[in-house]
């Protein structure tokens, strides 16, 4: 547990425990290794800066995951804005059964999810990028499957609205599933 005045050994322990999974997840969102390294460092720093916010006994990984995914998506959005690039076409697939649509490309996800909450973004990344099922997300986030479903539905509606506004086109009906 990180106290109000974290010591070097506490920070080192935090790093030993979580740097590897955060790096792996970072690579799913951002290709550049140095940028991922920077992102992981920044995530730890933000975690420590906001340490009084995190309740005792909670999962540091859950918080770090949320920080990292939000920071990564922020960077992708900034890069897209700075480069003034026309976003790639997004793969919005048709809903199939209980599963919601998939978004094919991470940068598109970053652009299209602007305005969603941190929690919704984290859930969206777990589902659309990491490929977790709703049940798995519900279990790891300690939320009900119904809550996850609603959050994903909201994400999808938000994404579709932004896709329409930004001129994205649904180009594929082929579901694209990330690999864990």
């Amino acid at each position: 547990m990180i106290g109000s005045h974290p010591t070097d050994s506490e920070i080192a322990e935090l790093y030993r425990r979580y740097a590897a999974p955060l790096t792996r997840i970072g690579h799913r969102l951002i290709r550049d290794s140095e940028e991922v390294h920077d992102l992981v460092q920044e995530s730890f720093a933000r975690y420590l800066r906001q340490r009084t916010r995190w309740s005792r006994g909670g999962s540091p990984f859950a918080v770090l995951y949320r920080i990292l995914t939000n920071a990564a998506l922020d960077r992708l959005r900034r890069q897209a804005t700075e480069q003034r690039r026309q976003p790639d076409l997004v793969t919005l697939t048709a809903p199939s059964g209980m599963e919601l649509g998939r978004i094919g490309q991470v940068r598109d996800l970053a652009i299209l999810t602007r305005g969603l909450s941190e929690t919704e973004l984290a859930i969206a990344v777990m589902y659309h990028v990491e490929g977790y099922t709703q049940e798995e997300i519900a279990r790891t986030e300690k939320l009900s499957r119904r809550t996850i479903g609603k959050a994903l539905q909201k994400v999808e509606q938000h994404v579709r609205r932004r896709a329409t506004r930004l001129g994205y086109l649904p180009v594929s009906n082929k579901p694209e599933r990330a690999h864990r």
Partner: protein, 247 residues
């Protein structure tokens, strides 16, 4: 027959490896894990070990503390809008044509001291100290007091990128320019003082100011090791420093 289906997510395996899963859940995973899950667990552990083996943990911790503002104390608080005006005045009245003069002792520290300490050949770090009647340049070895306010100027013969670090008496390192951010900022010859101004706090000991310049953009973290741990400087970088003594 070996079961290849995964039943446990990477997320839970990560938490298992990190030791943050409750004991009962860890036991459940143990009993529910398939051969594929166990194989994945071994892979994740190997990835972690590989990452840590290639990591300078002390340097990572130092960098994280720096970014989290967990250095022992806020040595160099940013000056607010009030000082922005004062700093602008400092810049405006600096006289670059002043002739060289001997090093300035403490008793005469408010006199003009035009000598600029230069190391590293083609770059120079100039430290402008705000004074009641304008400003003066601080030299290597000059004395400063808590509350003294300074801006930086870096002279280079070509455009490039620059960052300035401060190392206090306890060895704690801070990025001063840019004060927040991860990348060096652009540097143009003759552009004048760099953005931002700082004030010294009352932390005892020398203050070492190090300017790092490169022709191409670089990340602060990439040169942090050279600053904090006396490691070799990254290829393509040039640096110079000014050491100030605090009363």
């Amino acid at each position: 027959m070996t079961e290849q289906t995964r039943r446990v997510t990477d997320r839970e395996l990560d938490r298992l490896i990190a030791g943050e899963l409750p004991a009962d859940r860890a036991r459940q995973l143990e009993s529910a894990a398939t051969a594929a899950d166990r194989q994945r667990l071994a892979e994740l552990r190997a990835q972690r070990d590989q990452l840590l083996a290639g990591t300078d943990l002390a340097m990572e911790v130092a960098a994280i503390k720096q970014r989290a503002r967990l250095v022992p104390r806020p040595r160099w608080p940013l000056i607010g809008a009030g000082f922005a005006t004062a700093a602008a005045i400092v810049v405006a009245i600096v006289n670059w044509s002043e002739p060289p003069a001997p090093a300035t002792p403490p008793a005469t520290s408010h006199q003009a001291a035009p000598v600029v300490a230069i190391k590293g050949g083609d770059i120079a770090l100039v430290v402008h100290l705000a004074t009641t009647d304008g400003s003066r340049r601080l030299l290597d070895g000059d004395w400063i007091s808590p509350g003294d306010r300074v801006r930086f100027e870096v002279h280079s013969d070509a455009p490039g990128y620059v960052a300035i670090f401060g190392v206090d008496g306890s060895g704690a390192t801070s990025a001063l320019v840019p004060y927040s951010g991860t990348q060096a900022i652009s540097l143009s010859p003759g552009a004048g003082p760099l953005p931002g101004a700082i004030a010294f706090d009352d932390h005892p000991g020398d203050e070492l100011l190090i300017a790092v310049v490169a022709d191409t953009p670089f990340k602060l973290a990439d040169v942090q090791a050279a600053v904090t741990a006396d490691r070799p400087w990254p290829a393509g970088t040039r640096h110079t420093q000014v050491r100030l003594r605090k009363r």
